[in-house]
Every structure is written in structure tokens, then in C-alpha cells.
Subunit: 496 residues, 2 copies
Amino acid sequence: MTIWQLSSMLLVVISSVSPHPHHLFEYDELSQYVDSHQEEYVQTLRDWVAVESDSSDVLRRPDCHRMMDMTAEKLQAMGGKVELVDIGVQELPDGKTVALPKVVTAQFGSDPSKKTVCVYGHVDVQPAKLEDGWATEPYNLTDINGNLYGRGASDNKAPVLAWIHTVEVYQALSIDLPVNVKFLIEGMEETGSNGLDAMIVAQKDTFFSDVDYIIISDCGWLSRRPALTYGTRGNCYFFAEVEGPKQDLHSGVYGGTVIEPMTDLIGILDTLISPSGKILIPGIREAVASLSDEEWKMYQDIEFDIESFKSKIGVSQLMYSNKVDLLAHRWRYPTVTIHGIEGAFSGPGSKTVIPAKVIAKFSIRQVPNMDPAVVKKQVTDYLCSVFAKRKSPNKLKVTMIIGAKPWLADTKHPLYEAGKAAVKRVFNVEPDLIREGGTIPIAKTFEDVTGKSIIMMPIGGFDDGLHSQNEKMSRYNYIEGTKLFAAYFYELSLLK
Amino acid sequence: MTIWQLSSMLLVVISSVSPHPHHLFEYDELSQYVDSHQEEYVQTLRDWVAVESDSSDVLRRPDCHRMMDMTAEKLQAMGGKVELVDIGVQELPDGKTVALPKVVTAQFGSDPSKKTVCVYGHVDVQPAKLEDGWATEPYNLTDINGNLYGRGASDNKAPVLAWIHTVEVYQALSIDLPVNVKFLIEGMEETGSNGLDAMIVAQKDTFFSDVDYIIISDCGWLSRRPALTYGTRGNCYFFAEVEGPKQDLHSGVYGGTVIEPMTDLIGILDTLISPSGKILIPGIREAVASLSDEEWKMYQDIEFDIESFKSKIGVSQLMYSNKVDLLAHRWRYPTVTIHGIEGAFSGPGSKTVIPAKVIAKFSIRQVPNMDPAVVKKQVTDYLCSVFAKRKSPNKLKVTMIIGAKPWLADTKHPLYEAGKAAVKRVFNVEPDLIREGGTIPIAKTFEDVTGKSIIMMPIGGFDDGLHSQNEKMSRYNYIEGTKLFAAYFYELSLLK
């Protein structure tokens, strides 16, 4: 028996007399244990990153299934009460169906005298290929100067593992978990959490019945200062398909005789947004909640260095030159991004082809008080009317394949107060209160269906490169983040 | 000794007394020999198509080299005087260099009493992948109902082989070749015949010194009626690159803060051409030679069924609804095609990325009296001025990577009269006199450098699908085309 185990036993004994007194929280032991086991945590992350769980590519679906199995096995081995929940099938554009990755739920503890938290995370990833411009193999976690490079490292495998390791640390030190802990881990987040909404609705009165709080760590800090996140933008993701000839044509032989689908597509895409970033789709801007004076003041106070932001992404000029406009357009105004075109020539070199069918992929990040169903109609009507003016014989089909809602929390809620205390304990600073430009589609669903309070507690770095080449998670954020989670369990136990 | 060989000997004996009398041309023997050896010809084509000699992809360069070696070996085995001419290296965008495929030259016969023809062709191909929508493996020649499907089958491997087989047939039947035959076969045609111009200039007074006529068969018929081609469009192929952030960004995290390169690129591409096909780049339309009454009349008489053209390519409406406008815009007016965008998301599914660097590929088919150097300046100046108006901090780079000139011949030239006679003999019809919307970049160079007369004698079908999915060569065109070439050698020998 080591001195550590002894002290843990002591804590348990004392706890049973006076539950969770503040001064008795064994933070130092937990912290030291995390430090001394960091190589194991990095190795587990390496094992998880090695699985190419790209949920957007149905050919990778077996990897997604394997990733869910690995997650379930890990939680099972820790003694959790684990389920792999079947959430049905995904319908593909060609009418075929493919099984969705099962959702993993797990439970550690069911003490009715404790609060119950549910940690949400996902273990699917965005696509990544070495030839996209990665410096390292994207599915081989590579440590360079304390940064762990790999697809999904920060989004969202390391945060999920940090929560799992937190439970392990309490277990290893035989410290009673201050709260009952549930996990809900999915494998379709990157493509819109297909099937999860229905599963949450179905388990509203079972799995979620005793949950007090939902915690999400699928985001990142704004600077080197730790942050708590109180809002996210939604995402309406569109396919605009223009179809013309029945097959690709030689541009010499046919150029000048056919109305080219690519010209039509470029023409309608060019009407979405102005050079200065103004969204041109009627009705979109009008729906946005106006910026309050209080919010303006709050943005003024946030630690955010525009120059280092510019230098990090490597641009000489941003869309807005002052902090408030920039943060506001990042967090609480909608934006349109054209991601690319499927079906056109996209390789290196030259090809003299008239593509027969081209599909633009673009998305609109949306905010309160926009509504995805309304956005879908606004975009579809607008593009159809713009297209009609071209008098093209080609066929336009507009589809909204993702319609994820924005989410906004109250920063004065006790959940956030506990979060501030945990950050203060681990990092000895006050967290920034920030919003997230990206989308955590499930936040709004959790809120609407379960009625529970939600907090987003990020541990990812501000420069982790989510969704882009060379995504990474720093060892510092991974390890200190695990300590933050350990401290947060304790702070949550103090809530009335 | 067979009766065939006997008759051939007889021909040679008589020829030496009265060279090439019309009534003694052994067309029937040649024709029967071709028919009875067609399986061999198809097998050779299969062997050639199996080589993925995609000249646009430097990773395929070894296949291009192999293709040139196979061509040289074939001609060598037939007793030709063969050379593999080193034409230097290709400079890649990153500054590296890679060897160009050597040019194969060959010579059969050097009788000063005969005309000398030079057959030009190419054995490189456009890119092709099964997943582009091919019904069969593109590099495995597949015979379906008499159509031979495979990349490069029609463009240009079968026509090159048909000329080679023509020489073989004369040899096999021991019939003296009516003309001296030279071959010039290259491996960079699909990307602009890099290095060939200089080689032609260098060999002007050697290889080309005794050449009377140059024959090109790198095109196709307009309908089921055989055709002779008297003009081609040129091609100016552009890369327009817009570069912004130093790497791809998450569209949620960064959308709204950066000026996205894709939005800029779409914006400038949309200014190239109007929905009705009008080129918007100043100066382009003004340079085009006007349509003469004689030409208008000629187009009126050409066999061309708009309805079957529409149904072949599968569109309900063309850019022009009358035959003359349609043919004129196919052959003798310029057009802009946007082929695609490199660097953006192009896969199936969804990806929420802001691409950091995107490169549009577009080309302008140009015609007399446009000049590639002028077009380059017009396009670059125009796009830069359009881009400047956007006031974007991103960087635009416009490059013209191919600048191939148009070509136009005189249909009254004896070369064409001989062609008409050969078509009449084999197919028993008058050929259509047509132009080609595509580009045979080298035609203009041959004309300018060597001063020789050129004819284009296509054997490809009107529906061969050059540069697109399911390219094919029909057995009929391949085999009857070989007979046409055999007949043409004879007709050429009658020219004064």
C-alpha cells in the first residue's frame, strides 16, 4: 500500500462524515497522478487517432464502428455500465442505406445524494489525407515539440479521453467520484449527428432522467487563457447541384455548343455573398439578433490579439479590423463559406473537360434568431430564382444536408460559476467567457429535449487547426485539461 | 507462295514499268488483309491502352516513357529507321524538372521518285479514373457491341496504330509503299506538346527536309459520314490561383473573420462569360475573323442533325438552336470553359473547410485571328482588374500554361482532293469538309516552321467521347479507317 492509496482511503473515511468539504479536495494527488501517467494518456490518444473514423465517407464506416467499439470497451474495462445504442441507418443519396455508428453510453456511480453529470463527446473526425498538405501522416499521432499532431486529436478524441482519464484517476487513487458520471459518445458529429436527436428524445426519461448537467468539451480556447464557452453558431450545409449533359464532354469539341453546368454553378454561387462579406440571400441578415450594449462591452474586455490572430492564420488583412466586429462576426453573425465543388476537375495539371454534373458544397453558420428550416427555404428560393434568370436548360437541385441549430447559455448560471472556480484552481486565472464560431449541433437538442443546463468547457488550444491540415492537441492542454476536469467534478459536487 | 503474294509481285513488276497506274491499285487485297487481321489490331490497341500514359500527371511520367519505347519498338520491328529524340525537360510549378517523353521518329522508304508523307500522332492521354463514372476500367480496352472502350482508344492511339498497320499491310502483302512514310509520334499532346515546337524547328532541315505533306488524324467525324478536317481551334489554358491563409481553416471557427479565397475565385470566374455564352473579357470577341457568306453557305450544306447531337450529349437545349450558329460556335468562335478548381473540397460528402489556396482551371478555345500572347495579356489584365475591385488581401496569380494556336487549311488543295478520292473509294461517299472545335496544337507549328501542307484525316467516330468518361473507338472506324489510310497512300502517289 503506497502513501497515495493511504491518503485516498483517509479521504473516503472523512468524506463519509462530512461530504466534499472544500479544503479536503485532494487536488494535488490527482494532479500528480495525471502528470506521472501522461505517457499512457498520449499512447491511448495515439491508438484512437490511428482509427480513420471519418464519418463523412461511407467507405470509412467500418472504422467508425470500430471506434465506437473501442470506446465502449475502454469504458467497460473501467467498470462502467456501458451500452452500445443502435440508432438506425443512414440513407445515402443513391437510396441505399448504411448503419449509423452506434452511440456509446456509460455510467459511473448512481449515488442519489450526488449530482449526476453527463459528458458528451464524439470520436468521429473530419476527412484528412497526407496530400492535403499535412506535414505528418494524419492518422499517426506525432509528437513534435510537445504538440501531438493527428486528425481528430483535438476534435474531439483528446477531450473525450481526458474525461475518461479523469474517471480513471479518481478510481486509481480510490477517491470517491464527487459526482455520478455518465458518458454519451457519438460517431456522426462531423456530419450533423445523424440519428442522435431521435436517440436523445427516446432516452429522455431513461438515460437522461437523473442527469443534472450536460458538459461538452468539443471546442477550444480563444487565446492562451483558459475559457468557458457559452454559445455556438449553428450550421446549415447545402449541396447545390447543376446537371447538364449526360456525361463529361471535351471542351474543344463541345465548347460553345452547350450551356455548361460549371458556368451556371459559378454564376449562382457568386450571388451568395459580397466581396465585403455581406450575405446577399434575402432575409438572412434581418433575422439576426441585434448586438446589445452589454455584449459589446463584454467583447471589448476579452483577451484577443488581432495581430497574433492574423499571424497565426497567415493573412495580412481580416474581414474587420477592430476586435468587437471581428469577434461578433466570428461568434454571433452568420457567414457563408463555399467549401468546394464535386464533379469538376480538381486534380493537379490540366484537363480540358466540360464537367456534366457539378455539386457545390457551401454552408451558412447561423445564429440566434435564425431558424434552419427558414434558412433552407430562403437559400433554396433565392438560388432557384437566380438560376431561373439565367434561362439555362440545366437542372438545379438545392439540398440542405445539415441543419444544426445555434446554442446560447447564461454565463451567470452556477454551472459556469463552478467552471470559473475549477479554472482558477488549475490555472490560477479567471477564464475568458467566449462563444464558438463553429457548431456543436447537439447542444441545442440537449437543451430543448432534456431541459437540462449545459456548459461547454474547452481544453483545446486556440491554434489546434480543427478541420484543417496539421490538426494537433498540445500535451499541455491535454494533461492540464484532464486536471481541470478532475477539479470540475469536485466543484460541481459543491453546487446546491 | 500464296496467290496473294503472287499478285503483289505482279504489281511490283508492273509498277516498275508504269509507276502506280490507277487501275492496278490492289485495294481489294489490302482491304481483305485488314479485315482478316482485325483481331491482331484490336489486341495491339489493347496493349497500348493498358499503358496509363497520362501526360498531365507527372507521377505517370514513367508510363509515358514506356509508351514511347513501345511505339519505337513496334516501328523498329517493322524495319523502320527509328529514333527516340530527346526533347529535354519539363519545368514543374515547384521549380523541379522532369524529363519529357522522347519523340519517336521513323522512316519507311526513301525513294526520291516518290512523295514523302509524315504522319503525326500522339500516344499520351487525358486523365481517367474508374470513379469518374466509367462503366469499364479505363485502361483495360473492353469490347462492347463492337465499341472498344478505353482511355486514349480514339484520342489518339487507334489512329496512330491504324497508320502503323497500314504500313504493315503493304509490307505483309509485299506491295511497294506508294509513298515514303515518316512518323512523328509524341507523348505530350494533351498538355500542350511541350518541347515539340523546338524539336520541329531543330529538325526543319533534316527530318522534315524531304517531307512533302503532313497528315494528322487526331480528330473525329461530325456524323456517320466520313469527313476531312480543314481547321482547328487553338487553346489558351489558364490557372487562376487565389491564395489566402497559410492553411485550410475550420469554417465555423474562422468563417466571418477571413476573406475567403474561394469566394474571391468564384467572384472573378463569374466575370469570364455571360449566361448566354458571351465572352466578357475585353478584346477577345473583337479579334475574331468575321463569318463570310461562302462559309455560311458551306455550313448550311453540312450533314448535321441538331436533334441527334442533343440526344447524344443528353441536353434539352443547346447554346444555339440553328445549325449554322451551332457549327460556327463549335468551330470558328472562341469559348470559355471552366474545368474545375484544385485545392477546394472536391470529394463526396461534406467538409466544413475554408480552403486556403484554390486554383481554377479554365481555357479559352481560340480562333483566327486571335493570338495566344495577346489572349494571355487580355485575360490576365482583366482578371487582375476585376480582382483589384474586390479589395481582397488575398493574392491572385494568373498563369497561361498552354497557348496553342488555331489552324486553317485550304479545302481546294490537292491533299484534300486526294483525301476525297480515298474516302470515295473506301466508303463510296463524298466526305464532309469540317472544322474541329478542339485543338491539335502542332498543326499551326508544322505549317509555320516547315512550310509544308497539312491535312487532317480523321477516323474517330462522332460519338467517341474524347476526354470524357467511356471514351471508345469503334471496330468499324478502326478497321475501315486503316483501309482509308491504305487507299490514301495510293491517292497521294498520284499527285503531281
